[in-house]
């Protein structure tokens, strides 16, 4: 379906979808924890805006509520909680090193192409004007996952996880005009609770391993090798 067949509002949805994808990339590229939280907040706001637009175009009133909910939760509340956590944990200015950032970006672009390839048959099933965005939402999910794989900080991993959730929600909105209200409310509540629980976990992890670097969790393995490695790590630090 060509873009010239769409109305201006539908084109705007596509623009926002593209921006959501871009926000996923920028999440992937951020090295500071604080800025990745900000990028995540922007992504939430964009998803909310897209939802509101879809609500307007499709004349689906319940989507307005979803949009408001998304805005409140994903763009404001959860980023705020994370922000506070980070400040409390005193890691706000910490810089995370990503190994081969350019390679990660390249991989991300390949993932987008891949999700386009995978989503093609699905898109053929949908009749909505916004069906082209299914591939985008799928890439947002995959990029969130990629972020979790490539990051070592627990907080950024949580941000990646939340961004995956954004992708799922976005897929639901653009492909079928949203899930039933009950489900959406449930998911939103789940995510909120998850954030709180993650917050508790951060403190616990830090209590026990004195860092939020998830690679340090390796030493929890019970094999001798990793224990030896962990000891060497500790020895290296104490020097």
């Amino acid at each position: 379906m060509n873009i010239t067949h769409f109305t201006l509002q539908e084109q705007a949805i596509l623009i926002i979808a593209a921006l959501v994808l871009f926000s996923s990339f920028s999440l992937l590229a951020q090295t500071r924890i604080i800025s990745s939280i900000h990028a995540f907040a922007w992504q939430g706001a964009l998803v909310a805006a897209a939802t509101a637009l879809v609500a307007f175009v499709a004349n689906q009133h319940h989507l307005y509520i979803s949009a408001l909910l998304t805005l409140a939760l994903k763009a404001i509340l959860i980023p705020w909680i994370l922000h506070r956590l980070v400040v409390k944990l005193e890691i706000a200015r910490e810089v995370e090193t990503v190994v081969h950032p350019a390679l990660v970006m390249l991989g991300a672009a390949v993932l987008v192409a891949f999700s386009y390839y995978v989503a093609l048959p699905v898109e053929k099933l949908s009749l909505l004007a916004t069906r082209n965005t299914i591939a985008i939402s799928m890439s947002v999910v995959l990029l969130g996952m990629l972020m979790m794989v490539t990051r070592r900080q627990a907080v950024t991993q949580v941000v990646g996880f939340m961004s995956m959730e954004n992708g799922l929600f976005f897929a639901a909105v653009v492909s079928t005009h949203g899930m039933p209200m009950v489900v959406e409310l449930g998911v939103a509540f789940d995510v909120l609770v998850a954030t709180v629980i993650f917050g508790v976990f951060f403190f616990q992890i830090r209590e026990s391993i004195e860092s939020l670097d998830v690679d340090r969790l390796n030493r929890l393995a019970e094999t001798d090798e990793s224990a030896a490695v962990a000891e060497a790590d500790v020895a290296g630090e104490s020097e």
Binding site: H100, A113, Y116, Y117, L120
Partner: protein, 672 residues
């Protein structure tokens, strides 16, 4: 007519080889007979090629040589003619260049007879490869080409590194030759004959044609220097004498390209889109890695050799695009891609030969191989300097020279990827094109480095300060190639019109309408999509130059004051203060770090007590990653396997007899 001329070319080249045999005794033979004969052979090849291209006809013949049931078939179609033309032009330039260049070898009592003889054989073999129309003659000529060039690479064999390079070359040439032979074997099985004519009409199942394609890509790709099969190329090309390097880089690689085109476009019937994608990706990788490696070299000829890998990569990008379009049922665009690939082959053979000949002249005059020891050569070798500059601009694919036209055509072909059905292909092709753009820009940087460090600034060593002009023949050869670079850049339609018959006779593809709008306009696809008028561009440049010059000089004739360069008050600038090549390429070295095996060390030299710093020593070694990733593991496996096999070798003669005995029994059983 075409055939006779081609025969004449081969015979003249062989005659040149024969005459040179006496050159050790009578050195004058080389200058007054061997090289002129070679030049005539080049002219004959040009004549044959032009004949085949202009008349757009195919001439076929059967030679009374070979084995009784395997006659040698010869066929010159426009494709073969084009490559004959390409060989001929470079051979003419080399023949002009040779007498002046080999004089030095004669002074140093090198066996110039071997040099001349193998040069003649090498040229004759390349011409035969292109003319061959059956696998037998093709392979004989191909192996002759490999062997003759092996001896040329090993010409200065006093140096152990040269012997090693030559051996590596021979080894990889043999492996590649084996793959090509197997590919022909697959095709011949289904054709029932080794003649190409039979292969063309044979029906090969998809799986087997894929096998034949894979083997051909491997074999020809090894000879052409595609990454990661390129390891021999940067070793072998620099150690040969420079006019031979020009022939190897400029022509022999193109013969490999010819072989690949012949097998994939002509002999294998149907083409798959996926093959095109593979070729496209391999080509992109070769182009990018080739130029990145070239960037970090300081040895001038080695740098040029790596740049050949880059250019072969560009040719294969265009071929890959052509195959993609062919597989996707877009014959017009396939034909455009093929034209782009062929045009770049021709262009590369011109400017790379030009650069190698220039490098040879520089090395002959300065006896330095590293650009870090050159500098300021433009003032000492003004002609070579200007011709080398033209070569640099051409190879950096800048308008209005020829390299730009072929790269532009390749990009235009890639741009037409939008017509493809598959969205994934529409994503892959632009990315490959972006890699091509990166390659082009990096190539410009490489040649700014080469020219800026070697030819501009101040001489860095005493030897380069005393460099003198090479003799007139050497200059004429460079002038010829530089002129052709300009002509093919400004009047691309001329060459493309000549090439138009190739896609048609090769596969019945339609001619691209690139020259449909007169000699002034180059319009691949259609004029509203893209047009380029090199003559008008040149005119505009000249006009703007003239106007700005008149504007500045017309009013008063003002002088220019020559003074020493500003030294910030620290005393005169010394040549050691100049930016070095290694420093020039440092940012790229840092940005693309994982590409090389960089061994960079900075040593601090202190006085006896170790208190005062008296100097710093910087050491930089750039290793090819393909060695540690690919070749060394293979080498280890081969050694391990060899040790296993060596168990057979017990030293006991009766055991050996037993092996023969059992083999005999086995064979007898097979027969029954």
């Amino acid at each position: 007519m075409v055939l006779q001329s081609a025969y004449l070319a081969v015979i003249l080249a062989l005659a040149s080889a024969a005459v040179s045999l006496g050159a050790n005794r009578f050195p004058a033979l080389l200058k007054s007979f061997a090289f002129p004969l070679l030049g005539l052979s080049g002219f004959a090849a040009v004549g044959a090629g032009l004949g085949a291209l202009v008349t757009a006809t195919t001439s076929v013949a059967r030679l009374p040589f070979g084995l009784p049931w395997l006659p040698w078939e010869v066929r010159i179609d426009p494709l073969a003619g084009f490559f004959l033309l390409l060989i001929g032009v470079v051979v003419v330039a080399v023949a002009l260049y040779g007498p002046g260049y080999v004089r030095e070898f004669q002074h140093e009592r090198h066996p110039v007879a071997a040099l001349g003889a193998f040069t003649g054989l090498f040229v004759a073999a390349m011409q035969l490869v292109v003319m061959a129309d059956d696998a037998f003659l093709f392979m004989v000529a191909w192996e002759l080409m490999s062997l003759a060039s092996y001896f040329l690479v090993a010409f200065q064999h006093e140096n152990a590194a040269n012997r090693r390079a030559a051996f590596l070359y021979l080894l990889m040439a043999q492996i590649g030759g084996l793959a090509i032979l197997l590919s022909y074997g697959v095709l011949a099985t289904f054709a029932g004959s080794f003649a190409f004519e039979a292969m063309r009409h044979a029906h090969v199942p998809l799986l087997w044609s894929a096998v034949a394609f894979g083997l051909a890509l491997f074999g020809f790709g090894m000879k052409a220097g595609l990454v990661p099969l390129h390891a021999w190329l940067p070793e072998a090309h620099p150690v040969a004498p420079s006019h031979i390097s020009a022939l190897m880089s400029g022509v022999m690689l193109k013969v490999a390209v010819y072989g690949f085109i012949r097998v994939t476009f002509d002999l294998i019937g149907t083409v798959q889109v996926s093959w095109g994608v593979i070729v496209l990706l391999v080509g992109s990788a070769s182009a990018l890695l080739g130029v990145l490696y070239a960037m970090q070299q300081s040895d001038l000829k080695r740098l040029l050799a790596y740049s050949s890998i880059e250019n072969v990569g560009i040719i294969f990008i265009a071929l890959g695009l052509s195959l993609v379009f062919l597989g996707a049922g877009q014959p017009l665009l396939a034909s455009l891609g093929l034209i782009a690939a062929l045009y770049h082959s021709l262009n590369h053979s011109l400017f790379k030969s030009l650069l190698f000949l220039g490098a040879g002249a520089v090395i002959q005059q300065t006896h330095e191989h590293s650009i870090e020891h050159m500098g300021g050569l433009l003032k000492r070798l003004p002609y070579t300097g200007i011709f080398f500059l033209i070569g640099c601009i051409s190879i950096a694919s800048l308008p209005p020279f020829n390299g730009f036209v072929s790269e532009w055509l390749t990009l235009q072909t890639a741009l037409q990827g939008v017509v493809l059905q598959s969205g994934v292909l529409r994503i892959i092709i632009p990315v490959a094109a972006a890699m091509l753009a990166l390659t082009g820009a990096l190539a410009a940087m490489v040649f700014v480095k080469v020219y800026g460090v070697a030819f501009l600034g101040q001489p860095r060593t005493r030897r380069s300060r005393h460099a003198r002009m090479p003799d007139i023949g050497m200059r004429a050869a460079q002038a010829l190639l530089a002129l052709l670079c300009l002509v093919l850049g400004v009047l691309p339609n001329l060459a493309i019109n000549l090439m138009a018959a190739i896609p048609r006779t090769l596969r019945h593809l339609p001619e691209p309408g690139a020259t449909a709008h007169g000699w002034l306009w180059l319009t691949p696809v259609a004029p509203q999509v893209a047009s380029y008028s090199a003559p008008l561009v040149l005119l505009g440049l000249a006009l703007a130059w003239l106007l700005s010059y008149l504007f500045l000089h017309g009013r008063r004739n003002r002088s220019i004051r020559r003074v020493p360069a500003w030294d910030c008050g620290f005393g005169p600038l010394s040549p050691r203060m100049q930016y070095t090549g290694a420093a020039f390429s440092m940012p790229i070295r840092r940005i693309f770090q994982p590409v090389w095996k960089v061994d960079e060390r900075i040593e601090r030299v202190t006085d006896d007590k170790g208190l005062r710093l008296t100097g710093l020593r910087h050491q930089l070694q750039i290793g090819d990653v393909s060695w540690s990733v690919l070749y060394e593991p293979i080498g280890r496996w081969v050694l391990i396997a060899a040790r296993r096999v060596a168990l057979l070798q017990s030293g006991n003669i009766r055991t050996y007899l037993a092996y023969s005995f059992f083999t005999l029994l086995f064979l007898l059983w097979l027969i029954t």
